[in-house]
């Protein structure tokens, strides 16, 4: 009787996965890519909680297309400070410095997570599927995609991308260094399915520093056109006019 049930479960999993992969693993990657859910231009409010200290920081994200992002720090102590990303360049803009200060793209907000980890790498465009396998967890069947970066010299040449078969939502993305060592894991805990689809709560774990985690809660996402002035390196007027 028990043997029969196990066989049945296995057959079902194989059937389900076979169905999911019927359209090809690259198509599954595209449909599950968290970055892909966001509109091209949006404003979002996020709360970052650093673990284990438990310090909460609110930020506002203004994004226009794939290449321009402005992070506005909302804590009273940090009013007037921005992080501006143009292509792969990241700049810090503070009231104390007249000119933006160039930062490394791997800069971690509050020491916890990079912008890419919070906002999501466009995996479908930057990576291709190298191999596929299957698995299960308490939530059901999983598809495990091993991704390889299309561009040479990417910070994370490989990503292990686990997708829940039934929902086609990512469960966890593990970013690997060139050495093969796991560097960061992003766990997608909660999804907003009404209106815009986006991960409402995710946890970024810095696997190189044990115990260092940042919980990201996305409070709201508003699809809207973003004025170009917000992304100006030289003219702060538009940023200063923000409410």
């Amino acid at each position: 009787m028990m043997a029969g049930l196990r066989t049945l479960t296995a057959i079902l999993i194989v059937l389900v996965v076979t169905r999911a992969l019927a359209q090809g693993p690259d198509e599954l990657l595209r449909r599950s890519d968290v970055g892909g859910f966001s509109p091209r231009s949006f404003r979002a409010r996020l709360v970052l909680t650093s673990m284990p200290q438990g310090a909460r920081h609110e930020i506002e994200v203004w994004r226009s297309g794939d290449t321009r992002t402005l992070i506005r720090f909302m804590d009273p102590k940090e009013r007037g400070k921005f992080l501006l990303r143009l292509d792969s360049d990241v700049w810090l803009i503070t009231p104390g410095a007249k000119k933006p200060v160039h930062l490394s793209p791997s800069y971690r907000l509050y020491g916890g997570a990079t912008l890419d980890e919070i906002l999501g790498i466009r995996l479908a465009s930057a990576y291709q599927v190298e191999s596929v396998s299957t698995g299960t967890d308490a939530g059901g069947a999983l598809v495990v995609l091993e991704l390889r970066a299309k561009a040479e010299g990417s910070l994370f040449p490989r990503v292990r991308y686990v997708v829940r078969e039934t929902t086609e939502r990512p469960v966890v993305a593990t970013y690997r260094l060139r050495s093969g060592r796991d560097a960061t894991a992003v766990e997608f805990l909660q999804w907003n399915e009404r209106g815009l689809v986006y991960a409402k709560r995710l946890i970024v774990s810095d696997l190189l520093r044990k115990g260092a985690q940042t919980e990201v809660a996305i409070l709201e996402v508003e699809a809207r056109a973003i004025p170009d002035g917000l992304f100006s390196l030289t003219d702060p007027t538009a940023r200063q006019a923000l409410p």
Partner: protein, 412 residues
């Protein structure tokens, strides 16, 4: 009478005695100069360490000691807030010249195109000056002393860091650092001047600013520690005890750390120099002892018949041995006296010449050859010479103990 005979015996072979005195004298001077050099090195290093920014004592929150990173502090930002009160209390203690807050931080400085990471040290410039910590300025001016003088924030850059940034006095650079709560901040600072720490490696990384400016950058009222400068280094243990009683209790206990604890290499250098000195001292002692022993033995062999006569007329062998000891002691005394006079003159001359030695590895400036001799040096070297020469008298004494009177009387 034996000391008199011993002294007159030295005048028998004046050339040989002069040679023996020369050996003692040179040995004495050698030990004196080495002791003076070693002490000057110790004191110089000690004061350089203290004046270089370490101060005599450092007051830090007890919880910060041993906390290697922020995670160890379980969320509490490092340093302490009520530092002004603590600093003022410390400054009212006896033997305290001044106390000043410091902040240690790290970040990245950028001058438009180029950027470089730095280790930052924020100080209270007026108090730093009162503690006797002179900044070795290479270009430009020091940090302004008045707290909250307004105007632009100012920094001093290590010469190597300035070179890496392509910055010169008067330039404005952006200084960026992580605040205690993990966020990032940047402020523009005007380069007031360029300085050296004396260590090439540190010069390439160090940035110095005022506590007030660093606090604006880091968005904190806290400081890392309060450095205490004393009137005399010798009062360190006394003030440490006083401060310990005053500051190490209460809800937020503070720790008092001495400069020696903070500069463990000082102890290592001391131990190294100590063993080098002991080694040299042993060689000098051996050379002096062997040379004098040999000379005395020759002198005894020339006086065998005389010793025979002295034994025949009722002198005991112990008295003859005493006479030899007296001869050695006279050599020690006269040689040491001459060594003291010549050594003192040589020390004065060397110190007056301001001889420069090449900088040690990783250091920037040449070292001034200085000798620091104390009155006690003359005493202990004299004591050492006395012991060495007394030891040198042992082989000739043994020779005397073996003499047969009849053979000795017939000795030609």
């Amino acid at each position: 009478m034996l000391p008199l005979i011993a002294l007159r015996n030295l005048s028998r072979n004046q050339r040989r005695t002069l040679l023996s005195l020369l050996v003692v004298c040179v040995g004495f001077i050698g030990l004196l100069l080495t002791a003076g050099f070693v002490r000057a090195s110790f004191v110089g290093l000690r004061e350089a360490v203290i004046q270089g920014g370490l101060g005599h004592l450092e007051v830090v929150p007890a919880a910060d000691l041993g906390a290697a990173n922020s995670a160890d502090r379980t969320g509490r930002p490092p340093g302490f807030a009520g530092w002004r009160e603590i600093r003022d209390t410390i400054e009212h203690q006896p033997h305290v010249r001044a106390a000043g807050a410091t902040i240690q931080f790290a970040g990245v400085a950028t001058n438009g195109g180029s950027s470089a990471s730095f280790v930052g040290l924020a100080v209270e410039p007026d108090r730093e000056r009162r503690m006797g910590m002179a900044v070795r300025l290479r270009e430009g001016a020091s940090l302004p002393e008045a707290e909250g003088a307004g105007g632009e924030d100012q920094v001093l850059l290590g010469v190597g860091l300035a070179r890496a940034l392509g910055a010169a006095p008067g330039d404005t650079i952006a200084v960026m650092a992580a605040t205690p709560d993990g966020s990032l901040n940047a402020v523009d600072m005007v380069v007031a001047g360029l300085f050296t720490t004396g260590f090439q490696e540190l010069d390439g990384r160090i940035l110095k600013t005022s506590v007030a400016d660093a606090q604006r950058l880091l968005g904190t009222e806290r400081v890392t520690s309060v450095i205490v400068g004393l009137t005399e280094t010798s009062t360190t243990p006394q003030v440490e005890t006083a401060l310990r009683q005053l500051l190490t209790t209460g809800p937020a206990p503070l720790s008092i750390v001495t400069w020696e604890t903070r500069a463990p290499f000082y102890g290592q250098v001391r131990a190294l120099y100590g063993s080098i000195f002991a080694f040299l001292g042993t060689i000098v002692a051996l050379l002096v002892a062997l040379s004098i022993s040999n000379t005395m033995l020759m002198s005894v062999l020339e006086r065998v018949r005389e010793f025979g006569t002295l034994l025949a007329i009722g002198t005991s062998r112990a008295q003859l041995a005493q006479m030899l000891i007296f001869e050695a002691l006279w050599l020690a005394a006269i040689g040491a006296l001459a060594g003291s006079a010549l050594g003192f003159g040589l020390v004065t001359l060397i110190n007056a010449l301001h001889i420069e030695m090449p900088p040690p590895p990783a250091a920037v400036d040449p070292i001034l050859l200085e000798l620091l001799v104390q009155p006690s040096d003359f005493l202990w070297i004299f004591g050492a010479m006395t012991i060495i020469l007394a030891a040198a008298a042992i082989p000739p004494m043994l020779r005397v103990f073996r003499l047969q009177i009849v053979d000795a009387l017939g000795h030609v």
